[in-house]
């Protein structure tokens, strides 16, 4: 502790150089923290969904092919299925939005039985069930768009050639931090009615069937039964867990985990080089001072520790700004980074990731300080002093 003022004075010796090193660490760690937060968030969502026993049934050919709505009733009749509903991505445009937020045509009576990690007040749920053109929205999307109960929302069809005129009947919240609060649910009957009126081919179809099983043990058997009963039909199915369904979207972007890990490694390696170069330059200018400290009685290990302390101090300041600052930023402001609305939930940085970023900063400091510290400890006192005496 008594050496901390000495370490800090050395950090502040060349303020500009320390600032630049610090900021390069801060910005890079901010990005690394974001990348790892994404992975941690996905893992957390997967963990939260584990006990939910939720399955998705889609056409065997993929999401571009639709399933007949009769499939919903047949799925519901499978032994081990607790609740099943149509689940259809609408993808309409709201006002000037360039990217649609998550909008699903579903069954108002059943959707919150399946998504029981979402909470909607009973009176609002009843109003949603009564109103064929009603909808329920998440707290975040409601706050973002300024919606309140009774507001009219017009969604212009992009995938479907119909526009929806919806009324906000309820606002749901989530029980967990990772819950997606940016979705909108409306009655599938309303969409189907509009499509039937226009005699569209989409009428009587749904993108997927969303269901909940009685228990986790039932899942493999339920999946097998569903897919086998539709195997010889015009619309064979592929049933998967909700987790696998989400992962399928993520994997559309490629091997994201490997990409993130390799990017982070490259960033960390570059940071170590930048920080080590800064430290080496700083110490080259202080050869004489190191020799003086050694002549006073500072041992090699102590000199090494001081240099390492200096490198770690710079990195930790960068880490605090980058990782903890990032955490604070996402706590104060709702910034959604997901490219696939409705599949990744609201973006946030878990504490474990933010603190991991700080630990990474310490590791970067130590790694960047090792070589300069070793060089400093090896300075010959006689040679170091001879430079000036």
């Amino acid at each position: 502790m008594k050496f901390l003022p000495l370490i800090w004075k050395n950090v502040m010796r060349n303020e500009l150089r320390s600032l630049f090193t610090c900021m390069s660490i801060a910005v890079s760690l901010f990005l690394v923290t974001l990348l790892y937060a994404y992975m941690a968030m996905q893992a957390e969502i997967a963990e939260n969904n584990k006990g939910q026993n939720r399955l998705m049934v889609m056409h065997q050919s993929g999401l571009t092919a639709l399933l007949p709505l009769q499939h919903v009733d047949r799925v519901r009749a499978v032994e081990g299925v607790k609740v099943a509903t149509a689940w259809n991505w609408f993808g309409g445009k709201y006002k000037d939005d360039r990217i649609p937020f998550a909008q699903f045509a579903t069954d108002p009576k059943l959707v919150f039985q399946i998504l029981d990690d979402l909470v909607v007040p009973p009176d609002q749920l009843a109003a949603f069930e009564r109103d064929r053109t009603g909808c329920v929205v998440g707290t975040k999307i409601a706050a973002e768009k300024g919606w309140k109960l009774g507001d009219k929302i017009v969604l212009k069809g992009d995938i479907y050639p119909v526009d929806l005129e919806l009324t906000v009947r309820g606002i749901y919240d989530g029980k967990t931090e990772s819950a997606d609060r940016k979705m909108l649910f409306f009655n599938w009957l309303y969409l189907d009615e509009l499509l039937r009126n226009r005699r569209e081919v989409f009428a009587g179809m749904t993108g997927t069937v969303f269901l909940k099983t009685e228990s986790t043990d039932d899942i493999p058997e339920v999946m097998r039964k569903i897919d086998s009963q539709f195997a010889s039909s015009d619309a064979p199915t592929r049933t998967m867990t909700e987790q696998a369904f989400r992962q399928m979207f993520t994997e559309m972007l490629g091997n994201v985990r490997a990409f993130i890990r390799n990017t982070a490694l490259a960033v960390v390696f570059s940071l170590i080089c930048v920080a080590a170069n800064g430290m080496a330059m700083a110490l080259r200018e202080r050869t004489r001072e190191v020799a003086v400290l050694r002549s006073i009685g500072f041992g090699r290990i102590l000199v090494m520790s001081l240099v390492l302390g200096e490198a770690v101090a710079i990195a930790v300041v960068g880490g605090v700004i980058g990782s903890l600052g990032g955490k604070l930023l996402f706590m104060l402001f709702d910034i959604t980074l997901t490219a696939i609305p409705g599949m990744a939930g609201g973006f946030y940085i878990p504490w474990s990731t933010a603190l991991g970023g700080l630990a990474l900063a310490v590791a970067i400091g130590l790694a960047s300080g090792v070589v300069p510290a070793w060089q400093a400890a090896r300075v010959s006192v006689v040679d170091g002093l001879r430079k000036v005496v």
Partner: protein, 239 residues
């Protein structure tokens, strides 16, 4: 001369020191023996390259002799490991450099405190010691000044305070007045004499300046690796 002058604080027995440059042996000290008594103030003179600084490096344990034995305050430096010598230096020695060698980002107080950071003293105890040392060198009112805010003489006095703050038995001064004007040099020499007389510090001072050497009890002349008695008058006349 002090009463206990017969007790040797520093003893060199048949010490040789060779340097090697591209496998060429360059002898600096040749079978040199020397005794410096506790409480003595010795000046070492000699031409450049005569081995004056080498002598200080050997006595301080910063360098090792090629042959021979060096005993300081009863400790044979030859048997101590490098880390032991480093710790020994922190306890027994104060070094004063020609160019002061203060840490520029530290205040006078913090510079003087450096050797005490190696001791188990509390913060308050360290502060007391630092204030005492700075008062002794006459800089009690300059504690919060940075080296750049001090004159050369004041910087050297801070360096002296740093050398004495852990109460060492031996002070080694390498050209302590070499970078100062006459007035500042005089003040620094007065201070060294005071430290020797009042605080019984044994001092070995390397100098080119006969006037500085005159302030010592004994003047040694080092030439071609061996000590001779110095004729100060002749040296002064030669300057």
């Amino acid at each position: 001369m002090p009463n206990d002058a017969n007790v040797a604080l520093v003893e060199l027995r048949d010490v040789s020191k060779d340097y090697f440059r591209d496998e060429i042996r360059i002898p600096v000290l040749a079978d040199t023996s020397l005794q410096i008594a506790r409480g003595e103030f010795v000046a070492v003179m000699g031409p450049s390259g005569s081995g004056k600084s080498t002598l200080l490096n050997l006595v301080s344990g910063l360098d090792r002799p090629t042959t021979g034995t060096i005993i300081v305050d009863g400790d044979d430096l030859g048997v101590l490991s490098e880390s032991q010598i480093t710790r020994w230096r922190a306890r027994h020695l104060g070094i004063i450099f020609q160019l002061y060698n203060l840490i520029q980002v530290l205040t006078a107080f913090e510079n003087v405190e450096l050797p005490l950071l190696l001791t188990p003293l509390s913060r308050r105890q360290r502060a007391e010691h630092v204030r005492s040392a700075l008062r002794i060198v006459g800089l009690g009112d300059r504690m919060d000044h940075y080296p750049r805010q001090l004159s050369g003489g004041q910087e050297q006095r801070v360096a002296i305070a740093r050398a004495i703050v852990n109460d060492p038995v031996l002070l080694l001064a390498d050209e302590p007045t070499g970078n100062l004007d006459a007035s500042a040099a005089h003040e620094v020499l007065d201070l060294l004499v005071q430290l020797n007389a009042e605080f019984h510090k044994t001092i070995i001072m390397v100098t080119h300046d006969p006037k500085a050497a005159r302030r010592a009890h004994r003047v040694l002349h080092l030439e071609k690796g061996t000590f001779n008695h110095a004729d100060i008058d002749a040296l002064e006349a030669a300057r």
